[in-house]
Amino acid sequence: MKKLTRRHLEELIAQGLMYLSLALVAGSLGWILFTIIQRGAPALTWDMITKTPKGGFYLGKEGGVLNAILGSLYLALGGTLLALLFSLPISLGLNMYIPRKSRWALLVRSVLDVLWGIPSIVYGAFGFTLMLAMGLRASLLAGIITLAFVELPIMVRAMDEVLRRMPRDLENASYGLGATRIETALRVVVPQMLPGLVTAVMLAFGRGIGDAASVLFTAGYTDRIPTSLMDPTASLPLAVFFQLSMPYPEVQKRAYAAALILTILVLLVSFLSRWISARLSRYSIK
């Protein structure tokens, strides 16, 4: 028999703690998913996803949360597009135009770290103030702009992480053939790094669709599906939040269903991004 020395005992204890930690984390995840499915699935009817709230919906009468589903998609799509418009040039600039070790690049990255750390409720309060200053009401547009603030640092940081891994030889080969930097950026770097860039965009989209604190004051809430950028817009996280606070069990059940829909959407985005980036990576030069 092997003698159990002190150091082997330590090893055993450490490993035990690791497995325990892992079990706690995996257990919590399972517990969360189980709770959401167990409570949400019975309440998730076809009406929930195809109808907007009808009269007396918040007293437990019929209707669904289509307004919130579409509202969330509009908000997250708009916010992601707006953030993308700035993120791609900023991250390309950081990696191709501004010398890597320069003080300016360091400063920009630090500021991005800071922006990334600002809680979304602060963006929400800032967005609300900005919205009033611009003479807007709580609307789809105001929500999109605020979400774009939240998503911008997430997207730039993720893209920066991706572009840093660009093979320098490939870039230099392009320069060697006489291409300018912008031609290299758009025709070589972006196509080569497309799988990672798509993942970055999807990551920001997933964050955006689940974010409640930033749209709380800026997007408003309504039972109708928005038809213009100036309309107030419902969103799934707020649908969960508001319906849960109603005293009627029927309405609370709908909060569970809305949470299940939101969870499914977010997981779908996560899987989709994996799948798309795997498919696109066939066209990258290994």
Partner: protein
């Protein structure tokens, strides 16, 4: 196929017609545009800071900073704006959450980076990604459905009975909406975040060091203690600090389970009212009470500055921790 070929030939022709001068002009424009856009993050940060400062200026002028930060009464209608209950609430919830989350995350990160076989790793990493992707209201809902009843039904009575001599286990709050509930939910939320950073940090240790240590007969845990930890301690602390700032700024999930009572808590079973919840619950309504709006934006400013402090510290430590290995 033939069509695609034609298409690409068309693009090539269009490309070939460009003169050197026009390409250089494109390049100059792109260069200006990209450099100009890189100032955007700094401008955004500046604007946020200025706007929050400007809007909270009225209250900062009327009340002393001490009154605001150390005042323990929150009665906006009587003109009393003491932030202390909210600051205390945020601190209690965040610190307790980190006590749960930090060790668990670091042990997970150690397992993932040094122990797990590739197959196991490939199984666990997506799970952690899912945990990170779940929106905060869903965590909040889980807290309301599971954690709050658990705290109310078993944890609070049991711990109160076992440790009646410990003041922070005693509470007259009969609901489960408490600091402990908020901290448990928050802990689960920040775990994937800290794991991700700690994992990245641990990967920076050169494999050769580990192999050398194992080769002279050290156990894996000894290798961790004497070879890995000294090199990554700074990075791990930075990861925990970043997690703390995440937890400090988290709004919806905490707001849903923490009870929202503006008093200074004395026990983990007391209700608390974190800063983030204060803003979320009260801002955006029609505010006829003088200075109320200003007070809430001052609390947003305070929240941002605290988080900023955490982040700057962590970013510097993290940069140093990872830069050393690149050099």
């Amino acid at each position: 196929m033939a069509q695609a070929l034609q298409e690409s030939q068309k693009i090539d022709k269009r490309e070939a017609r460009k003169t050197l001068a026009s390409r250089q002009r494109d390049e100059r424009w792109a260069s200006i545009e990209f450099r100009a856009l890189s100032t955007l993050p700094a401008i955004l940060f500046g604007v946020i800071l200025v706007v929050l400062l400007a809007r909270s200026w009225p209250i900062l002028q009327q009340k002393s900073l001490m009154d605001l930060l150390l005042g323990d009464t929150w009665r906006p209608s009587e003109g009393q704006f003491g932030f202390l209950p909210f600051i205390a609430g945020s601190l209690w919830v965040t610190i307790l959450a980190m006590l749960f989350a930090a060790p668990v995350s670091i042990f997970c990160a150690i397992y993932l980076s040094e122990y797990a076989r590739p197959a196991v790793k490939a199984l666990i990493k997506p799970l952690i990604d899912i945990l990170a992707a779940i929106p905060s209201v869903v965590y909040g809902l889980w807290g309301v459905l599971v954690i709050v009843p658990w705290v109310q039904g078993s944890l609070a009575p049991t711990l109160g009975r076992w440790f009646p001599f410990l003041p922070f286990f005693n509470s007259s709050n009969p609901t489960g909406y408490s600091i402990l509930s908020g901290a448990l939910v928050l802990a689960v939320m920040v775990v994937p975040f800290i794991i991700a950073i700690s994992y990245e940090v641990m990967r920076t240790v050169p494999r050769g060091y580990l192999e050398a240590s194992l080769a002279v007969g050290a156990t894996r845990w000894q290798t961790m203690r004497y070879v890995v930890f000294p090199r990554v301690a700074g990075g791990l602390i930075a990861g925990v600090v970043l997690g703390t700032s995440r937890a400090f700024g988290e709004t919806m999930a905490v707001l849903m389970v923490v009870g929202n009572n503006p008093i200074i808590p004395h026990s983990i079973f007391d209700a608390a009212y974190p800063l983030t919840a204060l803003i979320a619950n009260n801002y955006g309504e029609m505010m006829s009470i003088p200075l109320y709006d200003s007070a809430l934006l001052a609390s947003a400013l305070l929240l941002m500055l605290i988080v900023l402090l955490f982040n700057v510290f962590a970013a510097l430590a993290l940069r140093r921790a990872t830069a050393r290995e690149e050099a």
